[in-house]
């Protein structure tokens, strides 16, 4: 009887060990995966157009051009003696075609060539889609010549007026319009001189930009 008990005890231990040895691998398990979680950055994109180009997502050229100018705009702003060579009124329209609408628009103007001429290119009218804060009258007369001109427009002192402008909405466009004329105050030193202007429009994503 005692011997049988010992045998039974050994058998129990063996069975128990066998259970311990295989039991940890016998539980059920299941794995679920979430796949295809993709991350795609949006894009900001603008198109622009003037009277003879676009809308294109590329550089346009020759929007405001005056060749063979002669001084004509009086200090008082009389343009009656200006011919078509000495005055130009044009518009660039900006379209938003990006997946991110952005926060605001910003403009900058730069010149090359006989840049002293910028002081004599008078801004007769300036408008960004009816946005009142940006207008010829709102520009600071940074060179003190008594009228708004391209030199004033490009001055750092006026850069805040060219920033934080309303962005272009998904539908429609916003227009930058400028009416420019050659000032009668340009003297003989300006004869035969030539200047080129680049207008850069930037659509910014964030208010901090």
């Amino acid at each position: 009887m005692h011997k049988r008990n010992i045998t039974a005890g050994l058998l129990f231990i063996i069975v128990a060990l066998a259970l311990v040895g295989t039991g940890t691998y016998a539980y059920f398990s299941d794995t679920a995966s979430s796949t295809g979680n993709s991350f795609t950055s949006g894009s900001m994109g603008m198109k622009q157009a003037d009277d003879d180009e676009g809308p294109v997502d590329a550089t346009i050229s020759e929007t405001w051009v005056m060749e063979n100018m002669q001084p004509c705009v009086t200090v008082a702003g009389d343009v009656s003696s200006c011919d078509s060579n000495s005055r130009t009124l044009n518009t660039i329209s900006y379209y938003n075609h990006g997946s991110i609408l952005g926060d605001h628009m910003e403009f900058s103007f730069s010149f090359s060539g006989d840049v002293a001429m910028a002081e004599y290119i008078r801004i007769l009218h300036l408008q960004y889609d009816g946005y009142i804060p940006l207008s010829a009258g709102s520009l600071s007369d940074t060179n003190g010549n008594g009228y708004p001109d391209l030199e004033d427009l490009a001055s750092p002192l006026n850069s805040s007026k060219l920033d934080n402008l309303p962005k272009v909405n998904a539908l429609g466009h916003r227009d930058l319009t400028m009416d420019l004329g050659f000032s009668s105050t340009a003297g003989n030193t300006m004869q035969g001189k030539s200047m080129t202007m680049v207008v850069t429009a930037t659509l910014n994503q964030d208010a901090s930009q």
């Binding site: 603008m46 002669q70 952005g102 001189k193 930037t202 930009q209």
Partner: protein, 169 residues
């Protein structure tokens, strides 16, 4: 055990600080933007310039006798790019211009392309636009009146002709 936790905490703080500094350093430049340029907006001023074919002239002015009229021919050319108006101003100076009161040498006529002007001392005429008819022929007459007496013998005078061009308004 406590030492290990402290090290972990320190490393976590360091990591957070580094990450924060990185975000501050580059965050403002990380936003998206899109720019478009409009180029070749060119502004070019024209030129306004005239020349006279003769800068000085003396032929025929010597040896004038009372009653003589000599003619100074000039060719006025517009060599600029802008249309212009011009004014001719003449002036006679020297002894021959004041040798005999009322009978001294004077500018008796100025003609532009053959058209006479009744006020010769200063006149205004519209030139042709540059390129189409770029030159005008100007003639200035100097007369020593027949009544000039001997006080005008062996005297000399000088004629100055000035052409001032202005842009058309």
């Amino acid at each position: 055990m406590l030492k290990k936790s402290t090290t972990k905490l320190a490393m976590s703080i360091l990591l957070i600080v580094v990450a924060a500094v990185t975000l501050v350093g580059f965050g403002t430049f990380a936003y998206f933007s899109d720019s478009e340029n409009s180029t070749d907006n060119v502004f070019t001023a024209g030129t306004l310039e005239v020349t006279l074919g003769a800068s000085s002239w003396s032929a025929g002015f010597d040896n004038m006798a009372p009653g003589d009229t000599v003619i100074l021919p000039l060719t006025l050319e517009s060599i600029g790019s802008l249309p212009l108006d011009y004014t001719i101003t003449t002036e006679v100076s020297g002894e021959l211009s004041s040798c005999h009161t009322g009978y001294s040498a004077y500018v008796s006529a100025v003609r532009v392309d053959g058209a006479d002007y009744s006020v010769p001392e200063s006149l205004s005429a519209s030139s042709a636009h540059g390129g189409l008819d770029p030159s005008d022929n100007i003639e200035v007459d100097i007369t020593l009146p027949a009544g000039a007496g001997n006080s005008c013998q062996s005297k000399s005078g000088t004629l100055n002709v000035t052409v001032t061009a202005d842009q058309q308004t």
